[in-house]
Assembly symmetry: D2
Homo-oligomer: 374 residues x 4
């Protein structure tokens, strides 16, 4: 059995998620190259050590360059803040590693382009962490659209709203640095933009309105020193798709009370589907043309009929969770490495998402429609 | 007891709704002037006759001018297509009648302004049929916002989506005439725009994208003659409110499978509310600051605590229907006439809504933000 | 046009509901005999007078016998407490009136039988106020069952739970008198039992467990005098139907937080339906045998395809309310009088419901299954 | 770090689930003894070999006795059909192993008692696979009840309904063998009975009605040979709890369209909670005594405030899946072994559940209430 040595950089929220997913993948997906947890890096040595022990990595380091250089590492998983993605990814690519990088890929289109082109030139496989689209019920959604079950698509309404920045007492952080997190449009907007593209293909034009509702925040929790906020709390976009239809996208991290309102409604001439990550195992589906007295939206529940649900559980009704989506992401990346064929959102895809983010920021500033360069 | 003579023009969908509401109002609301169904007009004499008999009007006519002129008629209810509203309303106002007119008030701001100014000059009471906002649960929503329960309002997402024009086989009609119905933005957009204003106050800027997905339709059901469609099937708006926050509004009559997806989500720094007319007796409410392990969206169900629910039923759980909302609209209009004080969406309010509709159409055409003249 | 003179006894919660429904029926239903509100009776003369004025009755009285005797009254509507139903109904029947009586029909099977037999002997039409089953979406449910769309029915789970007696501080009242309201099983259980019969036909056996959670209550709000409670707060029934299947029924008036959890789930070999009065315009429907990846419960929303919805509104999505269900009840009763053919839950049906209530009470006391005498 | 050698018997649906959970536990839960996958047994050698490879067991065998005897195995996980549980568990206990056994523990109370007493005598830890109660949101539910947040509990309605046996074409199998699966009451009823006990404590009396809707089934798919079915398709129970309240329990495997309708509603004098495994990350909670106009059921979503959710994900909104519940079960069992203190449903608990199952079967047959022996 083929194996792949995994090196993980970062042990925070997403680092943990990656580690768990790499641990789980081989048990759930048959015929994958087996991931071997070779090395974990964190600038905090104690954190690196804890991660090594808990997740079972062979070694830990505080030097990510050592990880990248390690010859037993074939896959580098980057889960550090956005500003560090470029340097780490380029080093890994230069070392011939396959790279799995969290979203957003980079703080700028320029960076994302450099990373994408480097990876393509080097012929390594890449993957960006748009985990939500790995949901089997969204594969179903994409298939339904692609197979014409909804007829001609006539509209898209996409939302990613959370409330974690709603409270003005939440302090300033890297998320609020334009060169860092980049605001709601970048931080969470990337998910719904990626989802829109996953389902419906390229977006060609954008007209955005970004809003910063909390104009200054304390330097730290409870601090009286205030720092001005230069990124958006909410971004609202009018979008046009290459396939000739229109829609809206909202990214909002001040949506009080929402933990994960990530979803969409897509209408077509013969049907409509709706999804909300708050109930991630469900797709609402209306099929036109039925007997009116028996028609309505059907709640399709993820089950064995939806690949790869049955690898998690052979019976319906058992529901997947978020970590399972991350496991699918990892498994598909491992399969891509094995086959040499991209099968998920690679750096090229992340670059396309980044173009839309950047266009939205500029569109809002210039108050006009902008075309997305292809 | 005071009485008010009612004259109804039009006996179609909305005419019937008005008639039923005028019949019901006095039984449900105490201390109202009692509406007396004096006269009904329809260009189709048979229809007028049937309406007279079924709803109990004293007289029927095919001549709306006779109705307007009738001295026993003190309130004229106009439920004809939009293009006829101006002439009828002006005549009624000139005759000193109070006027209850269906939405949208007129096909143009110019017409709406003339009607509004005439009514104000004549000192008659007016009401426009934005019935959905008469819902007790929306009065609650407005009160919550006004009393600061949601804190500072930070975002609005408004939707009115139905599917009745989704099928390309639906033929051309007056609804598709720019000088008539005026597209989704006018026909149903007026409801969600009016609701946004009812809850949050004036909209000051709009940036819209209108889309006509079905570009031509048969002249009649099954006809091979095709007519080009010059109005929108869907309108997507970025909006800015006078109170300093932003939002989106979507009006869409091609939302396959949706019968009445009219609703909103409004976030504030201390809470969020969400509503959908599909479940019109419910308001979802999240209140920030609670014990996290017990927090979430609460489904508030309309009940006796929400005025004027208890006039329909003294016990909770008994649910209002659409016709009840229309009855509240009529009752509040009768009360306004009685008191001499406007208490609902009058022509002035409908004019403000019309300005936004017209700005949206022009904004989409010119692809730029437009201010709403005050 | 035929007319029918209506006499209403009682002007409380249900009296008001009847009055409103009789006022509304003719406007909504074509071809009905027109109800004429002839007389209203209440032992409280002021209440009678107010009701006369608000609902438009021609006369008011404090003497229900005068109402029953009035020759312009052809239909007597009884909305007084249960203990008075028998005497009033028998008097009305003796006077040749058609009788519309609220549920439960009587405090005992014996009383209900006397009333039923008197009405049948006199050849008058009767109706009992099981209003919830008048819902168009439940007519659909019944049709689906009757037409075999669910295949062979295999199970029933019926619930009527409200919370209005949950608080132990709610004082003793006629509802808690075994000879009066009769406990949750009689007061609200009658609805779900009637609904079960409406949908699935006769119940032949019952095994019940009645529970009195609040064993004594204050004599009045805040009183320190306590009275023992001899009726049930909750009744749980195992039932067997004549058609050969089984189920459960729960009636519970101590279900804290529930305003109207009245509903059921009915499974069959080829499909399942579920309903909850909390969302009275919706029926959940699963149809077996579909493509598994597209299957699930469909939310059917009441609309023009469901008779008689379209009489209330010609477009879908406009939702009926509780008072509309009562209007349907009244209209069907007027039609029954007009045609001479029973078309709703008459006294005979209410007698059958009462038998089950009484059997449940006895079954619980004797702790054994009891057959329902036919 | 302490380690525990794991031996798994059975590689079917539940065997796989156990294997995945043992693989995941150490990565998610800190401070656990690390499970080492020592050996897997399956009578089908190829299946055992595949399981060894996919899940990473050190060895595979077709001889479960060899597994039980293996000195590197300290924990035996039994996922074979019920009829084999006793022999395997007794052998493992005799060998001094801790035993993790799927539910239902055994086909009879007698067997379950022997197993329980053997384990207790041997001083080994045991766990039964009542996985659904491992849900953090149900820990919350239990805490709320235990802390009196719902006041005095007044009613329980528990349901476990699935549709997997609904189709009469589903053939006869071990599930339908009274000495094997034991019908819906044993197969899935054990879950809801266990959940009832987990939340509310002992059940002291039961009155059941078992129904076999499909009275004979083909010997195999498509076979014309029919076999009579001697177990229930649905069981309906009236129950009384030691704490002095009553309720109902339904177990039903012919609930067409239901994949996992496992849930409950529990009312108390000061609040109500409701749960449905179909949306396993949500608990509905009504708290009495609030401002009526703002009250309703609150949808509490599982999040970091609900232990041990945060070990799976530090942010809210990320939802757990079924396999995560199994991981919690395994982790708690490992912790119990480590601490020597039972902390989940052990054999003793499974014995109590089995007593109720057996009493229900007998109660239905004898048509009378039965006390549960303590």
């Amino acid at each position: 059995m083929q194996t792949l040595g995994i090196g993980l950089i970062g042990t925070g929220f997403m680092g943990r998620t990656h580690a768990l997913a790499y641990r789980a993948a081989a048990g759930i997906f048959p015929n994958l190259p087996a991931p071997v947890l070779e090395m974990v890096a964190d600038i905090d040595g104690a954190a690196a050590g804890r991660a090594r022990q808990q997740y079972g990595f062979a070694r830990a380091t505080t030097d990510w360059r050592a990880l990248v250089a390690d010859e037993r590492v074939q896959v580098v998983s980057i889960t550090t803040p956005n500003v560090m993605h470029r340097e780490m990814a380029l080093a890994a690519i230069a070392a011939g590693k396959h790279v799995h990088c969290e979203k957003p890929l980079a703080p700028s289109v320029a960076d994302a382009r450099v990373m994408t082109e480097a990876a393509e030139a080097a012929g390594v496989r890449t993957q960006t962490g748009f985990n939500y689209i790995k949901n089997p019920i969204l594969k179903l959604a994409r298939d339904m659209i692609a197979q014409g079950e909804l007829g001609e698509i006539t509209g898209f309404r996409g939302i990613h709203a959370e409330g974690f920045m709603s409270d003005p007492a939440i302090p300033y952080s890297w998320r609020l640095d334009p060169a860092g997190g980049g605001g709601a449009i970048a931080d969470i907007g990337s998910h719904i933009i990626g989802m829109a593209r996953y389902l419906l293909g390229p977006i060609t034009e954008v007209m955005a309105d970004l809003d910063t509702m909390v104009k200054q925040r304390p330097a730290a929790f409870g601090s009286s020193e205030m720092r001005a906020v230069a990124v958006d709390d909410a971004a609202r976009l009018l979008v046009r798709f290459e396939r000739g239809m229109a829609g809206t996208i909202e990214a909002n991290w001040s949506a009080t009370g929402r933990a994960m309102q990530l979803g969409f409604e897509i209408s077509g001439s013969r049907g409509t589907i709706a999804f909300n990550q708050e109930r991630l195992n469900e797709l609402q589906f209306f099929k036109a043309g039925g007997e009116p007295s028996r028609s309505g939206f059907t709640r399709i529940e993820a089950g064995p009929a939806h690949t790869p649900y049955s690898l998690f559980c052979i019976a319906g009704g058992h529901q997947l969770g978020f970590n399972d989506l991350k496991t699918i992401e990892v498994a598909e990346f491992l399969a891509a490495i094995s086959s040499g064929e991209a099968n998920g959102p690679d750096f090229r895809e992340a670059l396309e998402v980044q173009k839309i983010i950047e266009a939205a920021i500029r569109s809002s500033s210039e108050r006009r429609w902008l075309a997305i360069e292809s």
